[in-house]
């Protein structure tokens, strides 16, 4: 595991808490490794964010399927019509009939399925969507914090490289 993240003071102020390191005092190679570490972390967090979003929309689809397909909606003219097409593969369908519009089987994870009434199932999925929303918001905060962090490090690094070059040309 990488050494614990040194809490770099972002503003370079003098009243930084004890134990923190002013990043302007770090040499260029260390700044570079800090930059690459922050970039990987940020990438990881962004993919997690995208995955959570995808999961959330999947749950929303479930709710919609129950509302339109199982309960049936008048607007979409699915109410009272039991004919459905059942997907056997992603491109092969067979005709079927809905025999139970009251109960559905819900995958609750780890291979367990629970029979629920449509209302309970919708509650279940909405709960999942809400949980994911909370997670997404937390994650967004972290992503924002990390990206400001990264920006500060990049700024300092750029200044260092530029001033280093200037010093080199002046000396040479």
């Amino acid at each position: 595991m990488p050494p614990p993240n040194t809490p770099a003071s972002a503003s370079g102020s003098d009243d930084a808490p004890a134990g923190s390191v002013n990043i302007t005092s770090l040499p260029v190679p260390q700044l570079r490794s800090l930059q690459s570490r922050l970039t990987t972390e940020l990438e990881h967090l962004t993919t997690s964010h995208a995955k959570l979003r995808a999961a959330q929309s999947k749950f929303r689809d479930c709710v919609r399927s129950i509302n339109d397909g199982v309960i049936g909606s008048e607007k979409k003219e699915t109410q009272g019509r039991d004919d459905i097409l059942v997907p056997l593969t992603s491109s092969l369908y067979v005709k079927g009939k809905l025999t139970d519009r009251e109960k559905v089987l819900v995958d609750v994870g780890t291979g367990f399925y629970v029979e629920k009434t449509t209302a309970k199932a919708i509650d279940f999925y909405n709960g999942k969507v809400k949980d994911l929303e909370a997670n997404l918001q937390d994650l967004e905060k972290i992503v924002q914090g990390k990206s400001t962090h990264l920006r500060v490090v990049e700024d300092v690094l750029r200044q260092k490289v530029l001033s280093g070059e200037a010093a080199a040309t002046a000396a040479g």
Partner: protein, 125 residues
């Protein structure tokens, strides 16, 4: 000089091997964490169910009906197992971390030693 270089290379290779090992362990730890989360979710779900709720377990391509108490026992057992696994992996992570820290100090020590020798050699020349 060539000997020192070779020695240093050997040390670095060992250090890298330890790092890969550590990464593998951390991956395993993360996998366990997500499994634990999923099982906890199922446990909570079962706890909120009525006693007569129909629970099915996916076995291969078929769903088998299961007793609520049986299903809860299975999930609790899994959680126990995962907890133990997490403990075991964490111990391994710590051990591996200590090893790689030690290796790193060894490398740094060796490097400074070589540098000192070089400085001494140039000074006396």
């Amino acid at each position: 000089m060539a000997d020192a270089q070779k020695h240093l290379q050997g040390l670095t290779e060992e250090y890298q091997k330890l790092q890969t090992e550590l990464e593998g362990l951390i991956d395993a730890r993360q996998k366990l964490e997500s499994q634990q989360q999923e099982n906890k979710g199922v446990q909570d779900e079962f706890a909120s169910l009525d006693g007569d709720a129909n629970i099915y377990k996916l076995v291969g391509p078929v769903l088998l009906k299961q007793d609520k108490s049986e299903a809860m026992m299975a999930v609790n057992g899994r959680l126990d197992f995962i907890e133990k696994e997490i403990k075991r992996i964490e111990d391994q992570i710590q051990e591996s971390q200590e090893k790689s820290d030690k290796k790193r100090t060894e490398i740094v020590q060796f490097q400074t030693q070589v540098q000192q020798q070089q400085a001494a050699a140039t000074a006396s020349a």
